[in-house]
């Protein structure tokens, strides 16, 4: 049984994740934003065409390359002692505390509670036609899956093969892949929820929607 309260408390205890900003290549670091607590933004705009906040510049061969914040958050630490020094690729330069949004919390909880069926190899995945029409018509939760059910078509190098679902019986709660996109091996395709736990999971989602406070 899922302990909803414990899960939420756990998320609330650390409502953020820390993003490491590492040097993409060697170069001399020049910090721009170093003050802990400074708000930073990730890429914005309809096409994410506006870059995020400038954190630092990395200069190599007289080629100054800006490093921008990847997500919204605030600067946790910036290793100021590295300012003006030459660093290797992969050196940790700063950390950003990114406060989780409602959607991120829901996704994290779902990934913990649902049974995730992963892609066995890199390929494009499709649902079987009858499943696909059902999902399109009345949502993923209308499809019940059981062990040994032929669920997917794996399409790779112009060859198509059926893929059998293996795992607990239940209904598809979330679909994590898109048609016509190549999926890497090991990434989840669907999240399956046992039928008796469906109401519980829906409860978690609604509680997160109402209780979780997003930081600006």
């Amino acid at each position: 049984m899922i302990d909803v309260k414990a899960l939420l408390d756990e998320m609330k205890a650390s409502p953020f994740k820390v993003i490491d900003i590492v040097a993409p290549h060697t170069g001399v670091v020049e910090y721009v934003a170093t003050e802990p607590g400074t708000c930073v933004f990730g890429a914005r705009g309809t096409w994410r065409e506006k870059p995020g906040t400038l954190l630092l510049n990395l200069e190599r061969e007289r080629n100054k390359k800006p490093v921008y914040a990847p997500l919204k958050g605030e600067i946790e630490t910036a290793f100021k002692e590295l300012d003006g020094t030459f660093v290797e690729a992969g050196t940790l330069l700063a950390t950003i505390r990114h406060y989780l949004t409602k959607d991120e919390v829901i996704e994290a909880i779902l990934k913990k509670t649902l049974y995730l069926f992963n892609a066995p190899e890199q390929a494009k995945y499709y649902f079987f036609p009858e499943v696909d029409t059902k999902i399109k018509a009345s949502g993923p939760q209308s499809v019940k899956v059981h062990d040994g059910m032929e669920l997917f078509i794996v399409s790779r190098m112009k060859r198509e093969a059926p893929l059998v679902y293996s795992g607990p019986e239940g209904m598809i709660y979330a679909v994590y892949f898109k048609h016509n996109e190549s999926i890497e091996a090991g990434t989840p395709l669907i999240g399956v929820c046992p039928e008796d736990q469906l109401s519980l999971i829906q409860d978690v989602v609604s509680r997160v929607q109402s209780e979780w406070e997003e930081r600006d």
Binding site: G45, T46, W47, E49, R60, E61, R62, N63, K65
Partner: protein
């Protein structure tokens, strides 16, 4: 009741005056306001007679002060008049100037583009007791009185396409076209057929239309105005404006504003004045033939006298155009001339048939070309000494005569002779073959000739230097030019590195050996125009002409002189256009280059003149014409209408060249936008882009500002331009020379010297 109506009318007039003068304080306006307020206060205590008397006095005061205010109008006030919702619009004109009209292409909201109105209208004249119904095609932008769907007269590309379609219909039917320009500018979208490309198509076709065209300007904003404004007679309403850019746009550029900042009212006012956009300014510069006087503070729908005048003017203008090209015209032409000077004369007194004969039609197109060719000749500096000018004139005449004999006269006969010679030659060959059979048998038996040839071949290959690859023996690859970017020791990041994983490139490699092309993804970095001059054309084959034509400051625009001096010193050029003759793999070509580093490659009177001269030279010498656009940001706004007029001027020159059977190829590099693209570049049947070029009508900032639309970052990308059909191919910079050579040999008309 009557008094109430009169008070209401005065209140509306006051509101209109306040709208026109904006935020400015004016004692006359204040006086009108206080007098009206006074009357309103006292009104109830007065008898009806007193009310009528005082109201009449007040109305007289309004008329008097309106006339006084009329004299104080600044350029910006006129812009506000034109933009006012009470301004007359095309529908009012159709109702009041023409006797009968039918809208074409849809009505009201249900229209191909409601901002472009097309109507088949009639003008009826009663002359000598007989009624003549004369059909005309009326085309123009409709702003609508507050009709949102009209888009404020900003025409979408398909609206301009519709206009062009009906212009052609009018040509087929041999009826005159009356166009009315009521647009703040074209709607800047690239969706097919594309704002710039459609305007270019319109200009190209209008240049050759063989029916009389009369244009009336009220609000003429840049490209949108040109899309229907190329005419034989251009009239302008006295309170209208005709300009390269709106005063706000000019102020944003002058004040270097970015990200939606607003320019101050003073700066906008100054820009409006500097741009010389009013009717009188344009009349003085020669871009407008006549100014039609409007009532005080601008024409509104209730000014019926004005519509009468407008009717008389458009009829008179059409008569004038027709009579100028007709055979039978003597007395009527004289009457039209004298009538123009007479006040209150009626244009409908004489009858002129508006349909033209074939001869008159071709005369009309030729006169139109000549008219535009003569425009803006005083708007640039030409320091060529008199004797050199005469020399050029003589040389040009010489080329014309030489070309006529060589290509037109001799070639026709030469073909006949060569055909006969070929026939005879073939006959002789047959006889020769028969006769030579025994000789050949002897030679083959001895195998002397072939052996000798083999020995010669071997000797040649052993003693002469070989070409290790094809390009090495190419006369154009004497690449003596090294980009200044390659002289510095630094690394460059490819803009596609995030998506394509390109490694950093070392500048000396990138800008010298790689020709400015990323070795991983093929992104083309910007190269200087000199690179092309040295790598595209045969070594040492460039001969520049019209070198003395220099960009000037025709409007005495504040600060432009200093900017031009700076650009001239920085680039060593005298204008943004270089015109030269050169060879590509031994084929002579005329090339006009727009240089991006000279004030953004903007086109003004000097650039336009140089381009026209290049077209004429190519036509005379029967050479292909290449427009290489290193970069252009559009028309140089500081030159005002002197710049805009280059759009029709150059397009007409291009059309004349293409019609003479020449080959006109346009190659875009880096960024090319706005006016030139919407005219003489966009009308080319062969347009190619170098990879990573951006091509479009208005830049992303302008689109955001004028339409409020967010556009994707790659909106103007060459690949999208290709998919929309605006260009016809994308070339790699390193293959430009080979591709151009291929194009020269496989494309083009009948008139090329090497065909």
């Amino acid at each position: 009741m009557d008094i109430e109506k009169r008070i209401l009318s005065l209140t509306e007039r006051l509101q209109y005056i306040k709208d026109i003068f904006g935020e400015k304080e004016n004692v006359n306006v204040e006086l009108l306001e206080s007098k009206l307020a006074d009357f309103n206060q006292r009104e109830n205590g007065l008898s009806e007679e007193d009310q009528a008397r005082q109201l009449a006095a007040l109305e007289d005061l309004y008329v008097f002060l309106e006339k006084k205010l009329e004299r104080e109008l600044t350029a910006m006030d006129k812009v506000r008049i034109v933009r006012h919702p009470q301004r007359i619009c095309l529908k009012d004109i159709l109702e009041n100037v023409y006797d009968n009209y039918t809208e074409l292409g849809g009505e009201g909201e249900y229209n191909i583009d409601p901002s472009m109105l097309i109507a088949r209208a009639y003008i009826s004249r009663l002359v000598g007791g007989k009624v003549y119904n004369q059909p005309v095609m009326v085309i123009g932008q409709e702003k609508g009185h507050g009709e949102e769907f009209r888009n404020g007269g900003s025409v979408k590309p398909w609206g301009n396409a519709k206009a062009l379609h009906y212009m052609k219909v009018a040509e087929t039917e041999n009826i005159p076209i009356h166009t009315y320009v009521f647009t703040p500018g074209s709607f800047p979208i690239e969706d097919y057929p594309g704002a710039a490309q459609q305007i270019a198509k319109n200009l190209y076709e209008m240049a050759g239309l063989t029916v009389p065209m009369i244009a009336v300007f009220s609000e003429g904003g840049s490209g949108g105005a040109e899309a229907v404004g190329l005419a034989d007679v251009r009239l302008m309403l006295s309170h209208g404006y005709y300009s390269v850019i709106s005063p706000e746009g000019a102020a944003a550029i002058e004040g270097r504003l970015r990200g939606g900042d607003r320019a101050s009212a003073e700066l906008i006012e100054t820009c409006a004045q500097r741009l010389k956009m009013t009717a009188d300014d344009n009349r003085a510069m020669g871009y407008i033939d006549r100014v039609i006087p409007e009532p005080a503070l601008g024409a509104r729908p209730e000014h019926y006298e004005f519509f009468k005048l407008l009717r008389s003017e458009v009829i008179g203008a059409t008569d004038e155009v027709v009579l100028n090209v007709k055979g039978w015209r003597f007395f009527r032409a004289m009457t039209v001339q004298t009538r123009k000077k007479k006040k209150g004369a009626n244009a409908e007194d004489i009858y002129v048939r508006w349909s033209l004969s074939a001869g008159a039609r071709s005369r009309l197109a030729w006169r139109r070309y000549q008219r535009f060719r003569k425009m803006s000749l005083g708007a640039f500096i030409d320091r060529t000494p008199f004797n050199r000018k005469m020399e050029r004139l003589m040389r040009e005449t010489g080329w014309s005569i030489y070309s006529f004999f060589k290509y037109d006269f001799l070639r026709k006969h030469q073909k006949k002779i060569s055909h006969v010679m070929e026939e005879i030659g073939s006959e002789i060959q047959v006889v020769k073959d028969r006769v030579a059979v025994p000789v050949r048998w002897v030679r083959e038996t001895l195998a002397l000739s072939s052996k000798q040839e083999n020995i010669e071949e071997t000797e040649k290959s052993l003693t002469e230097l070989s070409c290790w690859d094809e390009d090495a023996c190419d006369p154009g690859s004497g690449a003596s030019y090294v980009s200044p970017q390659a002289r510095e020791d630094y690394a460059v990041t490819c803009p596609n590195s995030a998506t394509h994983g390109c490694k950093d490139l070392w500048a000396p490699d990138l800008f010298r050996d790689f020709g400015g092309v990323c070795s991983n993804c093929g992104h083309h970095f910007r190269m200087e125009y000199q690179w092309y001059m040295h790598n595209l054309f045969d070594y040492n084959s460039i001969f520049e002409f019209s070198r003395n034509v220099e960009a000037g400051n025709p409007l005495s625009y504040d600060g432009l002189d200093a900017k031009l001096e700076k650009a001239k010193a920085q680039t060593g050029l005298k204008s943004a256009c270089i015109t030269f003759e050169a060879r590509i793999k031994h084929i002579n070509v005329v090339c006009a280059t727009l240089v991006g580093s000279f004030r953004g490659g903007t086109v003004g009177a000097a650039e336009g003149e140089k381009f026209v001269r290049a077209c004429e030279r190519a036509r005379r010498k029967h050479y292909p014409l290449i427009a290489y656009v290193h970069g252009t940001a559009g028309i140089r706004i500081q030159e005002g209408v002197n710049g805009v007029i280059q759009m029709p001027r150059c397009t007409m020159a291009v059309r004349r060249y293409i019609e003479a059977g020449g080959l006109y190829i346009v190659v875009y590099d880096t960024n090319s936008y706005a006016g030139p693209l919407a005219s003489f570049l966009g009308c080319s049947p062969y347009q190619f882009a170098i990879r990573s070029a951006n091509i479009g009508f208005a830049g992303p900032g302008v689109i955001k500002e004028t339409t409020g639309m967010d556009i994707p970052p790659n909106y103007h990308d060459a690949h999208l331009a290709l998919s929309r059909g605006h260009i016809h191919g994308i070339w790699d910079r390193r293959e430009l020379r080979a591709n151009l050579h291929q194009a020269l040999q496989t494309m083009g008309g009948r008139n090329l010297y090497y065909r």
